[in-house]
């Protein structure tokens, strides 16, 4: 039976195989990064972790205000890249991709990979 640490490493590795993935991170719902892997040199570890932490906090606030129930996932497109995230229990798994990241595939891979965290 793999440990949580091993599961996290395995998820990060799996997600890292997707096309145009620039980074993968697993954080807890307080925004602390548990594991991460970067394939892009232009984003620092700290910057990505800070982004993850703050965006998770905003994301939680949005859902609290909207009153739409438990948060499940998000996909975001920017002019230089894309982000897909999924919430599993106390964890948030985030993929940072470039413009060629397939968000549909990223989302389904996230859902599949995240099952191991449940």
């Amino acid at each position: 039976m793999p440990t949580l640490e091993e599961k996290v490493e395995q998820i990060v590795d799996t997600l890292g195989t997707l096309r145009d993935v620039r980074g993968v991170a697993i954080a807890n719902t307080d925004g602390f990064v548990i594991a991460s892997k970067f394939f892009a040199s232009d984003i620092s570890d700290e910057k990505f972790a800070g982004m993850v932490s703050e965006s998770v906090s905003y994301y939680k606030r949005i859902m609290d205000e909207v009153g739409a129930g438990r948060v499940k996932s998000a996909i975001v497109e920017g002019e230089n890249g894309k982000i897909a995230l999924i919430v599993v229990g106390d964890f948030i798994v985030i993929i940072l991709g470039g413009p060629d990241l397939n968000l549909g595939l990223a989302r389904s891979t996230l859902q599949e990979a995240a099952k191991d965290l449940e």
Partner: protein
């Protein structure tokens, strides 16, 4: 030319300044605050003009002031005067005494009402269910609205007729008006109940003031999902909304979320947030404007349709907003969904 004699019965300080100056230069000007004193003066000499404060109406009728003045001089003019205090200052009104008595003792009402709300004025006249005309003088324009059995059937202003004229008058901020009963419309140009007419006009005005209202309504109709709410946010404020109420703090957080991610992936053009009960999707229209929709349904189909509709409506809306004042927006440029 004979002597010009004026009698005033009432409080002198309630006479408008100009009228006081006019009558006080008469050959004879008498003023008294009491009916008894006025009667005494009427019996002493013939007056050409008798001005009675309208607050003395009952005493004047009771003591037959009009009859006594007429008996003394059949050519006497008798008027009731009233100084009306209003939020916009005082206005003096003068009524022919015989007509005032005629109205007061008959089954009709005649008077002056101040209102700051044009729609209340329209509804007020409409509620009488009478055939009448409502003339309004506002700024450099005079408009007339005709009612038949309580419904607006015709409107005219500055050469414009029908609903367009009515809409023009609804936008007026103030003016003086008078209602004339029994006035038949010269033609019929409006054919809807007063409620539906007002609803239509209010909706037009709202759309004119806020082009995104129409934009978001069209979007909501086009989206293939169960829409909970939709909003357009400009510079962090909700400028248009449809559906359920939404707290403005949500907007702040969504903006924060998108701004924060922009540090890593550039300006966010689109975000899809999935939660237990429904999806929330946000798409950027311009650098400071985005549309947000909460829905239950397939997010990918919704997203596709939303993106297509933004291509169709979003760009003109953004261009119009940036180039025109809200009151001058050419709505015809929005194509209604088929």
């Amino acid at each position: 030319m004979g002597m010009w004699k004026v009698l005033h019965i009432g409080k002198e300080d309630r006479l408008p300044g100009w009228l006081y100056r006019l009558v006080s230069h008469s050959d004879v000007y008498e003023s008294t605050d009491t009916i008894e004193e006025g009667l005494k003066k009427l019996k002493e000499q013939k007056f050409d003009l008798v001005i009675i404060g309208i607050d003395r109406f009952h005493d004047a009728v009771k003591h037959k002031i009009r009859e006594i003045a007429l008996a003394s001089n059949p050519n006497v003019d008798i008027i009731y005067a009233k100084q009306i205090q209003s939020s916009s200052g005082g206005m003096g009104f003068y009524y022919n005494a015989s007509q005032v008595e005629d109205v007061a003792f008959n089954s009709k009402f005649w008077g002056i009402a101040e209102t700051q709300d044009f729609l209340s004025l329209i509804e007020g006249v409409g509620m009488t269910s009478h055939t009448a005309s409502l003339t309004i003088i506002s700024g450099n324009s005079t408009g007339v609205i005709y009612f038949r059995t309580g419904n607006v059937v015709h409107a005219e202003v500055n050469g414009i007729k029908g609903k367009e004229a009515f809409t023009e008058m609804v936008s007026w901020k103030g003016g003086i008006y008078f209602v004339e009963e029994g006035m038949e419309p010269p033609e019929v140009t409006i054919d809807s109940s007063i409620d539906s007419l007002l609803l239509e006009i209010i909706s037009k005005i709202e759309e004119r003031n806020n082009p995104y209202d129409k934009f978001i309504k069209i979007l909501m109709m086009e989206l293939p999902a169960d829409i909970r709410w939709g909003i357009v946010v400009r510079e962090g404020e909700i400028v248009s909304r449809v559906g359920e109420n939404i707290d403005e703090t949500v907007v702040k957080h969504v903006k924060g979320f998108m701004d924060r991610l922009a540090d890593v992936i550039g300006e966010v053009s689109h975000a899809n947030l999935e939660c237990e009960d429904y999806w929330v999707t946000a798409r950027r229209l311009t650098s400071d404007t985005f549309v947000m929709v909460a829905f239950q349904g397939n997010p990918f189909i919704v997203d596709y349709v939303l993106a297509k509709n933004l291509e169709k409506y979003g760009v003109p809306a953004a261009e119009i907003i940036e180039s025109s004042s809200p009151m001058e927006l050419p709505f015809e440029e929005f194509e209604e969904p088929r």
